[in-house]
């Protein structure tokens, strides 16, 4: 029964999604760019000319070489090298990989938290609802970035820099996931409240289904489309948050850089004229976030779900 409802839902969505996708040039272009970036990130170890994590391959003599097309460039390093002599193309490929991993990981975590708390708040109502939504309100009014910075600072202070660096990926997924759960929880709650009024929920109750069965098998599938839209935009937000944390030194260490920590390490050299070390990863970050946002905009227009406003 579960599979029947889900696949029917998916079929309707697919056909309509596909139809409007074909008509939207911006959506198609964004999707192609995103797909290319995700694929090149996944296959970074195969595509990258060098392994930036392997210190033996780095020659300090090659440091701060400009990208091809400028005087003094070396053909072996198409996008130039950074201050340690690492190939920029390789570090950017690996950096995108780290950024995407954290982005997706954080959204999966916040979706899990958000769906759980949102369902509880919306379905149970009363005191549970009041407390959860109060926490969400306060956390949102503090801004997710602030919460992430504080949690990151506390973690870094308690683990110490070295230890923090080693487990940074998991830390960042945890920090960003915890900081951003209210967004999804509010959306889920809003759609649960709308769904709860409908007759099929009453019918399920009358038939004697248990509460969590009603929540997960009956209400949840009907709230998926707003979660999907919010989730897309949240991936972009998570990637930005990760970059911000890394830029502040609360994120990925330089030995295993994300796009954010690449920008940070390159920033020190911008005054000496080596703009590419910081601006090339910056450009990749902006394009990545932009295409995800554009896809999110398109999804929102198509699905037009009950988004929580304000």
């Amino acid at each position: 029964m579960m599979t029947a409802t889900v696949s029917r839902w998916a079929r309707v969505r697919d056909s309509f999604l596909w139809y409007s996708f074909k008509r939207d040039k911006v959506a198609i272009a964004s999707f192609i760019v995103l797909l290319a970036m995700v694929l090149s990130a996944i296959f970074a170890p195969l595509l990258a000319p060098t392994d930036p994590y392997d210190l033996a391959l780095i020659d300090i003599m090659n440091s701060e070489l400009p990208p091809v097309g400028m005087s003094g460039a070396d053909g072996a390093f198409p996008l130039g090298t950074d201050a340690q002599g690492r190939d920029m193309l390789s570090t950017i490929l690996y950096g995108t990989r780290v950024s995407l991993m954290i982005g997706f990981g954080a959204v999966i975590l916040q979706a899990a938290l958000g769906i759980m708390f949102g369902l509880l708040a919306g379905y149970l109502g009363g005191r549970v609802d009041a407390i959860l939504m109060r926490i969400a309100d306060v956390q949102l009014s503090f801004s997710t970035l602030m919460v992430a910075i504080i949690v990151g600072a506390v973690f870094k202070a308690s683990f110490g820099s070295l230890m923090f660096g080693e487990i940074a990926i998991y830390m960042l997924i945890f920090i960003i996931g915890v900081a951003e759960w209210p967004q999804i929880a509010r959306t889920v709650r809003a759609s649960v409240l709308a769904e709860k009024k409908k007759e099929y929920v009453d019918a399920a109750k009358v038939m004697g289904f248990r509460t969590n069965r009603i929540m997960f098998r009956h209400i949840l599938p009907n709230t998926l489309s707003p979660i999907f839209v919010i989730g897309t935009v949240q991936i972009a937000n998570a990637i930005i948050s990760e970059a911000a944390l890394s830029f502040l030194g609360l994120g990925m260490p330089e030995t295993q850089p994300s796009l954010g920590s690449l920008i940070k390490s390159g920033f020190d050299y911008i005054q000496s004229g080596s703009w590419w070390i910081t601006l090339l990863p910056g450009l990749v970050l902006v394009v990545l976030v932009l295409v995800i946002n554009l896809l999110g905009d398109w999804l929102r227009d198509v699905m037009n779900p009950r988004l929580y406003k304000g």
Binding site: V138, S141, F142, S143, L145, M146, I149, I150, A153, V154, K156, A157, S158, A236, I240, A243, A244, F247, L248, G249, L250, I263, F267, I270, Q271, G273, W275, T278, L279, G282, L285, V286, V289, L290, N293, L294, D297, G310
Partner: protein, 349 residues
């Protein structure tokens, strides 16, 4: 009015209570005041004695009560690094941050309202579409990256040699695309005016203003697209309403309809969201101040993290928490005052 005030203020106290508990937990979990006070050379027995003396063996709630009591009296401990009361350190760094936020808010206000309103009134115009696309891109650029690009363009300068210089056009294009740079990208400058106490300002000298330009523009850049989109969306919704059509049926001029009838209704939700966003800007000052080495609270906080200056971290947390709570409460009150349909009893009429 009184009920509304009491409700909002008691809510603010509750939030502050929770924040103080978190701050206390951080201090309790991370800070070892003994380490700082006595160093390594003291024997275990002596340590225990001092520990007892300082009340560190008391039950946790007693320790919290002491912490909260001190906090209420304005005592949030001594900074390890500065060796001064943390609140004094924060007070010294506050003006720089405040100035940044004020400058950025002015930029946001001056640009977001006209652009948002224009995009709502003429949604099909080329300029509107242009501004909306720019703001979509703007939302996707993290604030520190905007800052870096601005530094490259206007502080360091860019020399473009893409076009052949044999022709006059090539030279002109190269020149037109190149930027001179020269804007300061570091600190607040030397010519700060002393207002009172430790309070200094860069608003009153050319050098000070000059130093403010890039940081303020960077900080504004993250919020400006959000505000433009928000104002446009709210205004478009208002323009669809019956009372706007009725105003047209009365034969009013489009100026009065757009700028009095519609704008006043648009600004109500914008004030609420805007106030909250103003608080959120504090988070972004940390990033902006890092890029521009701006000696404000954000940079101070980051340095405190690298120095493991726990009392200063905790104090920052408390102060920023207070700032958020106060702005949110004030925004609620202003909303209540501006909107005639809220009777200030906490319920919408």
């Amino acid at each position: 009015m009184l009920a509304f005030l009491v409700q909002r203020i008691s809510q603010a106290f509750l939030v502050m209570f929770v924040i103080s508990m978190i701050a206390f937990a951080i201090q309790d979990g991370l800070g070892d005041p003994l380490q700082e006070l006595v160093g390594m050379s003291v024997s275990l027995e002596e340590r225990d004695a001092i520990r007892e003396d300082m009340g560190l063996n008391d039950p946790i709630y007693v320790q919290y009560a002491r912490f909260a009591g001190n906090a209420l009296q304005g005592d949030l401990g001594i900074s390890y690094f500065y060796g001064k009361p943390t609140l004094q350190v924060i007070a010294e760094h506050l003006p720089a941050t405040l100035e940044l936020v004020i400058g950025a808010s002015l930029i946001i206000l001056v640009f977001s309202v006209p652009i948002g309103v224009y995009a709502a009134i003429r949604p099909q115009a080329f300029l509107s579409k242009f501004f909306m696309s720019i703001s979509t891109v703007g939302i996707s650029i993290p604030v520190f990256l905007t800052a870096i690009v601005l530094i490259q363009l206007f502080s360091i300068g860019v020399t473009i040699e893409l076009f052949p210089t044999e022709t006059g056009w090539g030279t002109w294009l190269n020149g037109a695309l190149s930027t001179d740079g020269g804007l300061p990208s570091y600190g607040r400058g030397d010519e700060l005016t002393h207002l009172f106490g430790t309070w200094t300002s860069g608003f009153f000298s050319w050098d000070g203003l000059w130093h403010l330009v890039l940081p303020c523009v960077s900080l504004a850049s993250i919020m400006l697209p959000l505000f433009i989109r928000l104002i446009r969306a709210e205004m478009m919704e208002v323009l669809q309403s019956d009372y706007i059509r009725y105003a047209r049926a009365k034969g009013l001029s489009s100026g009065r309809i757009n700028f009095l009838h519609a704008l006043k209704n648009t600004m109500l939700p914008v004030i609420t969201v805007g106030g909250v966003q103003l608080g959120i800007m504090v988070a972004y000052t940390i990033l902006t101040e890092t890029v521009f080495q701006w000696p404000g609270m954000g940079l101070m906080f980051l340095e405190a993290i690298t120095r493991s200056d726990i009392p200063l971290i905790v104090a920052y947390l408390m102060v920023v928490g207070l700032v958020f709570v106060i702005t949110n409460t004030i925004v609620d009150l202003i909303y209540g005052l501006v909107n005639p349909t809220v009777k200030l009893t906490g319920k919408k009429a």
